[in-house]
Amino acid sequence: MSDSSKINTNAAAPDGYTGEGFFATKLDSVVGMARANSLWPLPFATSCCGIEFMATMASHYDVARFGSERMSFSPRQADMLLVMGTIAKKMAPILRQVYEQMAEPRWVIAVGACASSGGIFDTYSVLQGIDKIIPVDVYVPGCPPRPEQILDGIMKLQDLVRSESVRRRSSPEYTELLASYNIQ
């Protein structure tokens, strides 16, 4: 951006064929673009990382710029599950239930050391990473991560969503992945 006083709101167009008065591209790209720029988050915040996410939601970092304006504190209409904080083994079934209640397509970000690996809580009562119970797309390192890191994680996920095939969710690999977690 040359002029910093302006905000560029033009997302780059996907690859396609341009002619006079029309533009042709793959449905995958259009759907991916739409999904990536309207990831509706479901924050599952249990500890300090949740506080960092509150800062990410607030005006200074403003996660709404990424089309994540609507925080959903219910699985309804949410695409992006952000797990932020220590997940105790007692909490694991609840987290799993929230994930199962989300509709496809759904993505998961594990924010911070605890959600990713159990972090410093290397002990009997803490789940050593949420990928033990649900599939995870992006891991955000840090203890706790700064808002910039959470935004970076969201942008990484956007890249993933943008390039995902519309038919990925019905592919045998994806079914197998869910089956490995005993989901469905």
Binding site: K90, T123, Y124, Q128, G129
Partner: protein, 173 residues
């Protein structure tokens, strides 16, 4: 007129004789042992006596002494507080390792309910007569009592973390 430790000690010894013992001043709090079978009577006396008036149960917790002889392995510790004179006492009851059982004090203090549940959760100490003795913090499926000293702090079946990458040796893991 503050309530003196000597007064508490004399009253208890006079009433309960050998059932109370080992009076000692630990960190500004009078501490003594009570025979585990008579905790209810002692606590009732402490609460209802017109001079002692220990009207508040601050805390109930457990201790495991793995090096003690078998009949004194577990301890239940009660902290009581007299709000009128601002005096605190600490009561210890030793229990055996094979059969760690003690009467519940929920009849005297309702607040003991969750405190005893927590003690049961972490030490496996059975409080006889407790209205709902089940785990309160850990998962219900858990079979062990994690604050017992023989309990391994980490999950033995772990495959996700290799000790070599965490600077841990066999001595500290």
């Amino acid at each position: 007129m503050a309530l003196e430790n000597s007064v508490i000690q004399n009253k208890l010894t006079h009433k309960f004789d050998t059932l109370v013992s080992e009076f000692v001043q630990l960190h500004d709090i009078l501490t003594f042992e009570v025979n585990a079978d008579s905790i209810l009577d002692v606590m009732k006396f402490l609460k209802e006596d017109s001079e002692l008036r220990f009207n508040f149960l601050t805390d109930v917790c457990g201790i495991h002494y793995p090096d003690n002889e078998a009949h004194r392995q577990f301890t239940v510790v009660y902290h009581m507080h007299n709000w009128y004179d601002n005096v605190r006492i600490r009561i210890k009851c030793f229990l055996s390792a094979d059969n760690p059982e003690i009467d519940t004090v929920t009849g005297l203090f309702l607040s003991a309910n969750w405190q005893e549940r927590e003690t049961y959760d972490f030490y496996g100490i059975i409080f006889k007569g407790h209205p709902q003795l089940k785990r309160i913090l850990n998962m219900d499926e858990m079979v062990s009592f994690p604050m017992r000293k023989e309990f391994p702090l980490e999950d033995g079946g772990r495959t996700d973390k290799d000790d070599r990458f965490f600077g841990r040796t066999t001595d500290n893991c």
